[in-house]
Symmetry: C2
Subunit: 234 residues, 2 copies
């Protein structure tokens, strides 16, 4: 909407020169506001007060922009988790890891387009490596062997960065009714049965709709508890 740098008439503003940094910041802003589809080179140029072709002086191509904004988000995560100061020795490892992952998730919730970008990248950027290095450090504090750390990273997968799926449109798909579900009971007996019971036990959940945060934490804890059991048996 508003340009970061207004076209200066009669040179009132110092005319901040373009830079890779400024281009990437604008790209993040565009994606935050309008999603990944809104992020085009032409739109990005507009946001930054230049012509599309000027961007190519600071970034090689659009792929580099995508790499750049993915990296920027992980850097933001690293900053946030870097400020966490909790014990992690012995049994405390689990709470420390949990805290770190949930903090990463909070950052990600501000950039819901990020997981989609991560997926298409090799995900071996320095920032991602540093993030995982920190995670391994916490698990080592908990007495994990390096081998178990290695498996644990794979087990956590994208969950380590605070997401696994959904994260998107938290409010969508709301309007469905119990009646519609009952009509499907013949083909999907188990699924309908499950949802009917869950909805009955928790009536204010707009039927079958779930608290993403709760579910995320449940899945996370299942894995963490499993790893904790493995660590105990050396």
């Amino acid at each position: 909407m508003r340009r970061l740098v207004a076209r200066n008439k009669a040179g009132t503003e110092p005319r901040v020169p373009l830079s890779r940094e400024r281009v990437l910041r604008a790209a993040v802003a565009i994606a935050d506001e309008g999603g990944l589809r809104a992020l085009t080179m032409r739109r990005l140029a507009e946001e930054v007060g230049a012509e599309a072709m000027s961007l190519y002086y600071h970034v090689a191509n659009k792929d580099e922009v995508l790499d750049g904004i993915a990296d920027a988000v992980v850097e933001e995560i690293n900053e946030v988790v870097g400020r966490i100061d909790v014990p992690s020795r012995g049994d405390a490892w689990k709470a420390a890891v949990r805290r770190r992952i949930l903090s990463a998730r909070e950052v990600l919730l501000r950039h819901p387009w990020a997981p989609g970008v991560f997926e298409s990248r090799t995900a071996m950027s320095p920032a991602v490596l540093r993030y995982h290095d920190g995670l391994i450090g916490l698990m080592r504090d908990g007495g994990f062997s390096n081998d178990l750390c290695h498996h644990a990273l794979h087990a956590l997968g994208s969950r380590a960065l605070g997401f696994s799926q959904e994260l998107f449109d938290p409010g969508s798909g709301g309007g469905d009714d119990t009646a519609a579900l009952e009509g499907m009971a013949a083909e999907l007996p188990h699924l309908v049965g499950m949802f009917m019971e869950v909805a009955h036990d928790d009536p204010d959940s707009t039927l079958g709709w779930c608290d993403d945060q709760t579910e995320f934490e449940f899945g996370l804890d299942v894995i963490l508890d499993g790893l904790d059991r493995l660590r105990a048996q050396d």
Copy 2:
């Protein structure tokens, strides 16, 4: 490359008419062969021996094509897992779920573009619902409460369909050397330490490169074991 229907000169071939079914099958073939980027409406038309605009008579737009091929893959999974006939009562639930998920994974390995498409869809297609209905059935056989089934689906997440990440370029990133890792030891002490040890214990792993299948199964088992413990405590 080769057209499914050759342009018939002098009407030698019966000229199979276009159909949504045929369009989607061709779309899957293109994505299998050249990845998602290769799947354009124009390329799809070529593959099917027609002009791009003809496609719009059978599908509303490209989004419907993407929905269609995502659905086609899940249908293929449903066919495969539908032929599985193993016990699932009581303790057997875990082996049955494991088998089902690993079978789904085999299908997915033939369509490595599929996870990327799933992510952008709402993933509530009839085929996906049927797949999860079957999963719930197995867990119910194992004595899961509906509530635990519900949590379990969230915990498994995309792993239920046989993937979580990677799955892509299984051979990439090979050439790195131990020396490069040692150079990063100052910034990434835990990560480098872990990889050095893992590489030492398993020298033929091209350093730090992992058997995706093994890691997938490890992560899967961590979660399954965790759920098993929850089920035991009612």
